[in-house]
């Protein structure tokens, strides 16, 4: 009975707790409280049964003669058993209340860390990388992820990234994502607003540590500008069909984590923003084999002095001494993922082939070395990456990757790279990846071929979610 009282007190205490937990936790607590209430009822009923049994036992004890003592002994055993069962149940309920959950706080909080150990056969001047050649150790990022419900109509998430400047070593904090996402719009619509990774292609909106290889594909690095980060608004529509079709449209300033925001001067009209869209679908070819194609497009009608002089990017890019000032940005992409994922053993064995082809068709104002204006130019360039991964054990994945691209400013400058890697996932939260990459740069790039070996060590603590893009 004392335990029942304890539970009631515990519930009373919980009901007066400050409302620091938001919906998710509150809901969990509510469910737990419901469970406790149900069990309290059960316990009370069982306590009543025990009381009745005790009463009966007492009566029987008084009535039964000494030579019939066998019967009360059995009743006593039954009673004891019931009390033990009851104790066990109460203990379980109490244990349920005592547990700690990583996401007990609202928002749920988690950290991701990623360290890259590498060796490159050429220096940064020859590779074009912002990392030095030879041996290098690089804490690529530490991410703080927080997510939670805002109210019954929306949720929000924030990703704060801490990284070191490759040259000065100075640590900087950066808001990588901070966005609000609706959860209850009618018409199969979802709106996302704030800073987020815009939906373009297959891997552009995936964080580095979730990629199937160590480095972001070169074509995404160059044509998109790394992750597809934007400050904007995106609408996703699930087409109300028997077949899965998803359509996304968005608009925003800046598109690409490495790109600066457009320099706008005093005012900007709608043509100064980036507009993007993506259409994707999915086919179950067999229960174990699936095909997921998609097409994407990005258009900035009037890139108002993209790469304009500013503290972050003090100069325009140059090619052969000519200065390029982006005036219009146009990018299209086609992507395809073919997966063999056996239903029965999908945690132990899968094969995935993914390919994405991008076509860039940007228009530039050009100035020669003396600052005289030359005719504007449109540079059409292509790039592709393709990878194959084979998960042959719950902990092990082997992968190969091929990349090829034309420079978006000079389509005669071509780069290709071949990689092989092996991943050892000790658990969901602790993963090592060893990768070898050979990169070929042709003469027009002004860079040299080189070899590199990477060891990536990524870890997660705290809350983590299995996101839709990780499927």
């Amino acid at each position: 009975m004392k335990r029942v009282l304890c539970i009631v007190c515990l519930l009373a205490f919980c009901s007066f707790s400050p409302a620091v937990f938001a919906d998710d936790t509150a809901e969990r607590l509510k469910n737990l409280e419901d469970t406790v209430q149900n069990q309290s009822k059960t316990i009370e009923e069982q306590q009543n049964t025990i009381d009745t049994l005790k009463e009966n036992f007492s009566k029987e004890k008084n009535q039964v003669s000494p030579e019939k003592g066998q019967v009360p002994q059995q009743t006593d055993q039954e009673l004891q058993q019931k009390i033990e069962e009851l104790n066990e149940k109460v203990n379980q309920v109490v244990e349920t209340q005592k547990k700690e959950i990583p996401s007990v706080f609202n928002p749920a909080i988690g950290f991701v860390g990623e360290t890259i150990f590498s060796y490159s056969s050429e220096g940064s001047a020859e590779t074009g990388s912002d990392r030095p050649g030879g041996f290098d150790v690089f804490q690529r990022s530490v991410e703080l992820n927080a997510a939670g419900s805002v109210d019954p109509f929306a949720k929000a998430y924030v990703v704060i990234n801490a990284s070191d400047d490759p040259v000065t070593g100075e640590s900087t904090l950066d808001v990588e994502e901070a966005a609000l996402q609706t959860t209850s719009l009618p018409g199969n619509l979802e709106v996302k607003a704030g800073r987020f990774f815009g939906e373009f292609g297959r891997l552009a909106y995936i964080h580095d540590h979730e990629l199937p290889f160590v480095n972001r594909p070169l074509v995404l690095e160059q044509y998109i500008g790394g992750e597809s980060r934007t400050d904007g608004l995106q609408i996703n529509w699930l087409v109300p069909s028997e077949h899965y079709i998803s359509l996304t449209l968005g608009a925003g300033d800046q598109f690409g984590g490495d790109n600066p925001p457009n320099y706008v001067g005093d005012t900007r009209n709608g043509t100064g923003l980036n507009y993007w869209g993506r259409l994707s679908t999915y086919f179950d070819l067999t229960p174990n084999i699936s095909l997921e194609p998609g097409i994407s497009g990005l258009w900035n009608p009037k890139t108002v002095a993209q790469w304009a002089p500013n503290p972050a990017n003090p100069s325009y890019p140059t090619v052969d001494g000519d200065t390029f000032i982006e005036r219009e940005r146009r990018l299209a992409g086609v992507d395809l993922v073919l997966s063999w994922k056996p239903l029965r053993n999908n945690q132990f064995e899968t094969i995935t082939w993914g390919t994405e082809v991008l076509y860039s068709d940007n228009r530039y104002d050009v100035m020669d070395a003396s600052g005289s204006a030359l005719p504007s130019r449109t540079v059409s360039s292509h790039g592709v990456y393709s990878y194959l991964t084979y998960k042959f054990d719950r902990q092990w994945v082997a992968g190969i990757q091929y990349e090829w691209l034309e420079n978006m400013l000079n389509n005669q400058a071509k780069t290709s790279a071949e990689s092989a890697n092996i991943t050892w996932a000790l658990s969901h939260w602790n993963q090592l990846r060893l990768q070898y990459t050979h990169t070929d740069n042709n003469a027009a790039t002004g860079l040299r071929p080189y070899d590199a070996v990477y060891l990536q060590w990524a870890w997660i603590i705290g809350s983590h979610a299995h996101g839709w893009q990780q499927r």
């Binding site: 700690e100 109300p240 086919f283 179950d284 090619v319 449109t378 969901h428």
Partner: protein, 324 residues
């Protein structure tokens, strides 16, 4: 700048603009072609995460329901693939029935978000958590990842105890009555008929499982505490080091040694896990390895919950009898 398209006339520029316009039109047309207004079905559309829940929903709902399960039965309960083809199905669902206790945390939250169906989101009456009223076993005091991929609310595999499965059925019944009160009488009739059948089987299974009283067994994953408790078996341990974490050689060595010392007689291998390690452990310890489904359809001839429990109890009893 050699090699670049230095000469781009207005004509070429216009052509490229048209190409991009065509791409956008194709995108929109493709989307609109897929448009199909969902028919308002007379039947209650139910999506369940696992096949045992689908079996229960069909039993209680009868002809009034149309039930789809995300799992086919052969998957790991925690590892159902997140297929986009599930999304339209969930988008149209009236009720989503799940095991709860975070059993489906690896796939359900993302699918729910993608479904964009406000009727079945967590906290709504369409979100039917069958763990309501179940007292969980193995509730961890801490969910630090040192303990592996633990379930913070306790072990979620309670439907392997047929008595607790009745609580899940009751929750499904309540959800159906809430959704469609007009058909309450039919749901009640169906539920009672199923309970009668299940109760008879429970009595039968208990009788048969008397031979298993105190029998020690191990399994690959922690699927069996409720089953063991109900039928009086001694659940000795798991082959996994921790939930969701494969065994290390040292763990296998220690487990094997302990199993020999304690005369553990049965090694249960769930079919979604590889056979090699359980088989080796069984050979080294002299135990019998059995392959048991964890939801209907996991192995042949277990299409319904009752058939599955029949299979589990018979297989365990056979294994013990063979050993003797």
């Amino acid at each position: 700048m050699g090699g670049n398209n230095a000469d781009f006339g207005k004509e070429k520029y216009a052509m490229k603009s048209k190409l991009f316009s065509v791409l956008w039109i194709l995108t929109l047309t493709g989307a609109l072609c897929g448009w199909a207004t969902p028919a308002h079905a007379a039947k209650i559309r139910i999506v369940t995460t696992l096949t045992d829940l689908a079996d229960f929903a069909r039993a209680v709902g009868g002809d009034n329901v149309e039930v789809h399960s995300l799992a086919t039965g052969v998957e790991d309960t925690h590892g159902v693939p997140m297929k986009p083809s599930f999304v339209p199905m969930m988008n149209r669902a009236d009720l989503l029935i799940l095991i709860g206790f975070d059993c489906e945390h690896a796939f359900l939250p993302a699918l729910l978000e993608a479904s964009k169906n406000p009727r079945i989101q967590k906290g709504t009456s369409g979100y039917v958590d069958c763990s309501k009223g179940i007292i969980p076993l193995d509730v961890p005091k801490s969910t630090d990842h040192y303990q592996g991929d633990v379930h913070p609310y306790g072990n979620p595999h309670y439907t392997l105890d047929p008595v607790l499965a009745k609580t899940a059925i009751e929750n499904i019944y309540n959800a159906l009555v809430d959704f469609d009160p007009q058909d309450q009488a039919e749901f009640k009739h169906n539920r009672d008929a199923y309970f009668t059948k299940l109760d008879a089987k429970i009595t039968e299974w208990k009788m048969e499982a008397k031979q298993l009283k105190g029998v020690k067994f191990v399994s690959y994953h922690e699927h069996w505490p409720y089953f063991a408790k109900r039928f009086g078996l001694d659940y000795f341990g798991t082959i996994e080091l921790k939930p969701g974490i494969d065994p290390t050689p040292r763990h296998i060595e220690e487990l094997t040694r302990a199993m020999k010392a304690e005369h553990v007689s049965i090694v249960v291998r769930e079919p979604q896990f590889p056979e090699k390690v359980p088989k080796n452990i069984a050979e080294q310890t002299g135990a019998t390895m059995v392959t048991l489904p964890i939801m209907p359809g996991g192995v042949p001839n277990t299409e319904t919950y009752i058939k599955m429990m029949d299979y589990i109890v018979h297989t365990m009893v056979d294994a013990e009898q063979t050993r003797k």
